[in-house]
Subunit: 447 residues, 2 copies
C-alpha cells in the first residue's frame, strides 16, 4: 500500500478532538482505520465509553504466543492560525523529502508506519507469529480523558505482553531513540482575589493588588537558581542509573545545540550535576504556562485588579507520585497566599511518570523484543538505538502500566524539526519509510 496515499486520506480527516465541530472528521478517521483493518481481514470496531471512540482491532489470538498491543492516536491538534501554514493543514503535501499536514508526525505518521508494515507482511502472504491487538485512541491531544475507563472496562480483552508506541522523539534517521521514561504531569490553575471588583488606582497604596499577590506566590515557588521551592517536592526523586548517564553520552547533541534551536539566552540549571539535556530528563519541573490579570489593552489603565490567575504544570520524574505532588503544591500555595487575598486552586487531570530500567527488565517477552529491536534498528537505520528518558509525558503509557500491567516499547519516528502542535507540521519521508521497513522486519521476527 502506498504510504503517501494512505496518509493523504488519513490527514484529510479533520480529527481535531478538542473541536466539537470536527465530529465528522473524527468519524472519518475511525472509518479510515476500520476500513484498513478490514482490508487485511483483521477484526475491527469502534468502542466508546463516553468520549471519542477508540478503534480497537485484533488478529486471531493463539495460545502460547507473544501478544502485542499496538497503540496510536488518530486525533490531532487544532491547525490554529492558517496564515502560518504554507499549505492546507488537512491536505498532505510532499516538499523537500517531507510530508506536510496536521498529524503527519503526531501521530498519524507514527502509527501508520506500524500499520502499513503489518499490511505489507500480510499482503505478501506471510504470517505474523505474534498475536496483535490495536488500540488507536481519539483523545490523546485532550489528555486521554476516557482512556482510564476504557482500559478498565476492556481489561480482559486488552491483555498483552507489552505495548508498542511510535509517538516519541528521535534525534534523526541515524540516531533512533528508544524512550525509557516519561515525565508525569500535574497541572492546576490558581486564582487570587483581593476585592470585589477592579478599583481605581487613585485609591491605591493599601488595597490588596491581585497581580502583586500572584507574583509573590509564583515567585516563591522557585529558589534562586531555579530549584523548586516546595517543601518535600524532591523527596521521592531518585538519581539516574549509571547506564542512563552513559546513554546520554551517546546522544550526538549538546546543550549548545538545544540553546541555539530554541533561541535561549541562557539556561538556568537548578542542579549543577546535570546539563540542560539531562535536567529535562532527570529532574522534575514547575513551569508557569500562562498568567493573566487586570488591563490587557494598549497603554495604561489605572486600575487595581481584583483578580489574577496563573496556569502551572509540574513534570514529575520516576518515583514521584502525582497525588502526593498535588498535595504538596496545594499546601504550599495555601501557605504562601497573603492573608489579605482569597485563593482558589483548580487541579487538572494528572498523569504518572513512567520508567523502565532496561538493565533490570523482568518480563521475558519484553527482554526478547528489546534485543530484537536493538539489532533491527541497527540494520535499518545504521546505528543501534539510544536508550533515553524523555522530558515529555504520554498519559496512556503509565495508564497501561497501572491498569493493564504492561510496559511500552517507545520508538521515536518524530524529530525536532517536525514542528508538532505548530504550523507546517511534517514528518521526514525517509524516516517514516525506514520506520515501516523496520516494523515489517520486527513484526515478522517476533516469536
Amino acid at each position: 500500500m502506498d504510504m503517501k496515499k494512505f496518509l493523504a486520506d488519513y490527514i484529510a480527516c479533520k480529527s481535531v478532538s478538542s473541536d466539537r465541530s470536527c465530529a465528522a472528521g473524527m468519524a472519518d478517521a475511525r472509518r479510515h482505520l476500520v476500513k484498513f483493518f478490514k482490508s487485511l481481514s483483521i477484526d475491527a470496531r469502534e468502542i466508546s465509553v463516553g468520549g471519542h471512540a477508540v478503534v480497537f482491532a485484533k488478529t486471531e489470538q493463539k495460545p502460547n504466543r507473544p501478544t502485542i498491543l499496538v497503540y496510536g492516536h488518530y486525533d490531532v491538534q487544532p491547525a490554529d492560525d492558517l496564515e502560518l501554514w504554507d499549505s492546507d493543514p488537512f491536505t498532505l503535501v510532499e516538499r523537500g523529502g517531507r510530508l506536510y499536514g496536521r498529524g503527519a508526525s503526531d501521530n498519524k505518521g507514527g502509527h501508520s508506519a506500524m500499520l502499513l508494515a503489518i499490511g505489507d507482511t500480510l499482503a505478501a502472504g506471510e504470517k505474523i507469529f505474534a498475536n496483535l491487538k490495536f488500540v488507536i485512541e481519539g483523545e490523546e491531544e485532550i489528555g486521554s480523558c476516557s482512556m482510564p475507563r476504557f482500559l478498565r472496562e476492556m481489561r480482559d480483552e486488552l491483555g498483552a505482553d507489552f505495548a508498542i508506541v511510535a509517538d516519541t522523539w528521535s534525534l534523526d534517521e541515524k540516531n533512533i531513540v528508544i524512550t525509557t521514561g516519561l515525565r508525569g504531569l500535574v497541572g492546576c490553575e490558581i486564582s487570587v482575589r483581593g476585592c470585589s471588583s477592579d478599583i481605581h488606582s487613585g485609591y491605591g497604596g493599601c488595597i490588596p493588588n491581585a497581580i502583586g499577590a500572584l507574583a509573590d506566590i509564583c515567585s516563591s515557588l522557585h529558589a534562586n537558581g531555579g530549584a523548586i521551592n516546595i517543601p518535600g517536592f524532591y523527596d521521592a526523586v531518585t538519581p539516574p542509573e549509571e547506564w542512563e548517564l552513559l546513554q546520554m553520552k551517546r546522544l550526538p547533541m549538546s546543550d549548545a545545540d538545544m540553546q541555539k534551536l530554541f533561541g535561549i539566552k541562557q539556561f538556568q540549571l537548578p542542579d549543577a550535576r546535570f546539563s540542560a539535556l539531562e535536567t529535562m530528563r532527570f529532574l522534575p519541573t514547575l513551569e508557569f504556562n500562562g498568567i493573566c490579570g487586570g488591563f490587557q489593552g494598549d497603554g495604561i489603565k489605572t486600575i487595581i485588579p481584583h483578580v489574577a490567575s496563573a496556569k502551572i504544570t509540574c513534570r514529575l520524574v520516576p518515583n514521584q507520585d502525582a497525588e502526593s505532588v498535588k498535595c504538596l503544591l496545594q499546601k504550599t500555595l495555601v501557605d504562601r497566599c497573603p492573608k489579605e487575598m482569597l485563593l482558589s486552586v483548580k487541579f487538572e487531570q494528572a498523569s504518572a511518570p513512567y520508567w523502565i530500567d532496561v538493565e533490570r527488565i523482568k518480563n521475558p517477552a519484553f527482554v526478547k523484543i528489546m534485543k530484537l529491536v536493538d539489532s533491527e534498528i541497527e540494520d535499518v537505520f545504521g546505528n543501534g538505538p539510544i536508550y533515553l528518558r524523555d522530558g515529555g509525558s504520554i498519559g496512556i503509557v503509565p495508564m497501561m502500566k497501572s491498569i493493564l500491567g504492561i510496559d511500552s516499547l517507545l520508538i521515536g519516528l518524530s524529530t525536532a524539526d517536525d514542528n508538532i502542535h505548530g504550523p507546517n507540521e511534517s514528518i521526514s519521508l525517509p524516516m517514516v519509510e525506514k520506520g515501516r521497513k523496520f516494523f515489517r522486519s520486527l513484526f515478522s521476527k517476533i516469536r
Copy 2:
C-alpha cells in the same frame, strides 16, 4: 437654562477621545459648548495644537480685576460593555434622583454646573466682576497629551490668578471636599523574554520561563508588608502637615467604610502611622495594573512562554519628581532582571504631583477665593468644606501650575457612587443643582 436639557444634549455627543470612530461626537461636543458660550455673548473658539481641539472662551477682560480660568473636559471614557448598562450610555436618563449617562459625573456634569451658573447670572442681567477664561479640553481621558503644548503656545492668552476645576470627589452633599493635593503618575509596561518562541514544557526544567522571571521582578518591588522596595523611592516623601491630619478627622468616613465599599478582604498598610484613608492620600504607590503571558485559553497547555509583560503605575506624592522616580524604577527593573532574560521597559506619559498648603498660600487672590468658597459652601451645602488631598491624579492641574504658574481650586461634585469610568455612570441631581447654586453665588461675589 434647564440643566437636564443642557446635559442631555451634551451627553448625546459621543465624545470618546480614545476612540477614533468618535470624531463626529467630539466635534458635536465642541459645537455644543461654543453654541452655549455664544448664546451668552461670550467669545468662544476651537483651538487645536495637534490633538483634539480645546474649546477656549473668554469674557471681556478688564484690568485690575481677578482673572479666573474655568477648566473642564468634554471628552469621556468609552462606554465599554453595553450589556452592563441599564440604559443607553449616550442618552441622559433620570432615575431615583440621579442623572445617568457616560460623562454625567466625569466631567460633563461637573463643569456644566459652573457654565450654567454663569449663564444664570448673565441671563438675569447681572454682571460678573471677575474676568473669566474657559478651557474645556478633549484629552483628559487620554492623558491630556497635547495640553502641555497648548498651555505653552497659549501662555500669554491664558494668564489668570487661579483656575477652578470641578472634577474631584466629595463624600456627599453635606460633606463637600476641597482637594488640596493630587498624586502624580508614572506608568510603564515591562516585558521579559527568555527564548525566541514558546517551547513545549517537556523540555522544561532549565529553560528560562518568562512568567517566572516576570513574577520574580514584580514580587521584588514590594517588601513584606507592602512598602515599595526600590532604593531611594521614599527619599523625597514628606510627612503630611498637621492641618491635613486634622482635616482627615473631619471626614465622616472610616477605613471600615472603604473596606465595605470595595469588598476588600483586608487592607495591607505599608506604614503603621497611616490609616487606609491616609495611606491613599499621603503615601506613594506602585501598583500592577495588568499582567499577561503564555496560554490564556481553557484548561492547560504545556508551554514554556517566551515572553510575558506587566503594566505598572506609580502614584507620587508632593515633593516626589516623576523623572527621578522613572530613573529609580528603570534602574531597579534592570538590576532585578534575571541574567537569562531580556528586559524591555517602556514608559508612558507621566504627571507631577500637586499640592497646596492652605495655611501658607501667598497669592492674595487665591486666599480671598478660598475664604469665599468656605463660607459659600457652608451656606449652600450646610457644612464648611473639608480640605483633603486626593489619591488620584489630574494631569492638567500640575501642568497649569508649572506652565502657567497658577494654582487650582478643586471643588468636588462627584461622589463614590457615581461609578465614573464604569457602567451606569451617574451624578446626583441635587448635588449638581446645589453645585450650580453655589457657583452662581460664588461667581457673583468674586471681587
